[in-house]
Symmetry: C2
Subunit: 158 residues, 2 copies
Amino acid sequence: MEEKFRRSLYPELDDIDYGIVRALQENARLPFTTIAKELGVTEKTIRMRVQQMQDDGVLSLVGIVNPVKAGLNVESFIQIAVEADKLDDVVEVLNGIVEVRLIVLTTGDYQLFIQILVRNYEELAQFLMKKLNKVPGVTRVNVINELKILKSKFKFVR
Amino acid sequence: MEEKFRRSLYPELDDIDYGIVRALQENARLPFTTIAKELGVTEKTIRMRVQQMQDDGVLSLVGIVNPVKAGLNVESFIQIAVEADKLDDVVEVLNGIVEVRLIVLTTGDYQLFIQILVRNYEELAQFLMKKLNKVPGVTRVNVINELKILKSKFKFVR
DNA sequence: TGATAATTGTCGATATTCGTATTATAGTTA
DNA sequence: TAACTATAATACGAATATCGACAATTATCA
């Protein structure tokens, strides 16, 4: 009785799940009663489905701050080459740096790919010189600055 | 009377705003009455602040689906070099491709940086061969496959 | 086909949201 | 400084929504 499954294993969401996701994608605070009316089921059903999808890690209902409006104007993607035996250590250090939003292990010439957000180019320079280049094991970095976001789509259900 | 400002210009959020953001970051459906009690103000105040932050594009309350749980198991970052005069056209085509989640104009050897999500490597191959390589103006692509996400942090307020 | 578990529905108690009117606060000008 | 204005906060009752316990229904599987 450790694991409990529902209907079938994910990713098999049914129509009701999709209806719920479609609604909450737009507005995480939409009343369950409204969604229920739309989908022709009871509020209780919506409530339970949402709870399960959250428990199962399928759906998160969160508030997101626009980084630019919060003063974080400079976004960069950085590829990092690391000495093979130092990878764990480097990741650990990067993990503790607030500017680092995303760390991904990748294929290719560089092992790590990170995304950072800072207030301005001065902070970017500080990050590169005072933080990233001081991390032992980092052999090479490739900074790709973001000039403009042309598309950003976080909706997964149409 | 076209623009309306509040207190002062963003990014000057005050303590109440930060309190609201901090709470809603964790749970977008947290009752305003609860936040109000915590911050020592009225529910109406919270309601109005949230509405304003949303109107001003500072805060979004959204449902997010875990792509892996939705069957999108392969994520790739792709750098794309484009003939200078074809940039707009390429972006327009990429915009219409469902797999493409993010398009960013960048500095460096490649002009565009995109993020894609597909179900599996077969779909990635199809995307590269049937879609991306058929886009006129694309001269060179560099695919960086994501092996594992080591950190992903979307909270902007501590 | 039964037995069992999981899901959904019903419904009243409680909590939350919403809208209006009123009061307080900050900024501005005479 | 006082009066004025605009903005933001509060008070509060009505309308909605959420929650939880139990019953009914639907799947699941031996």
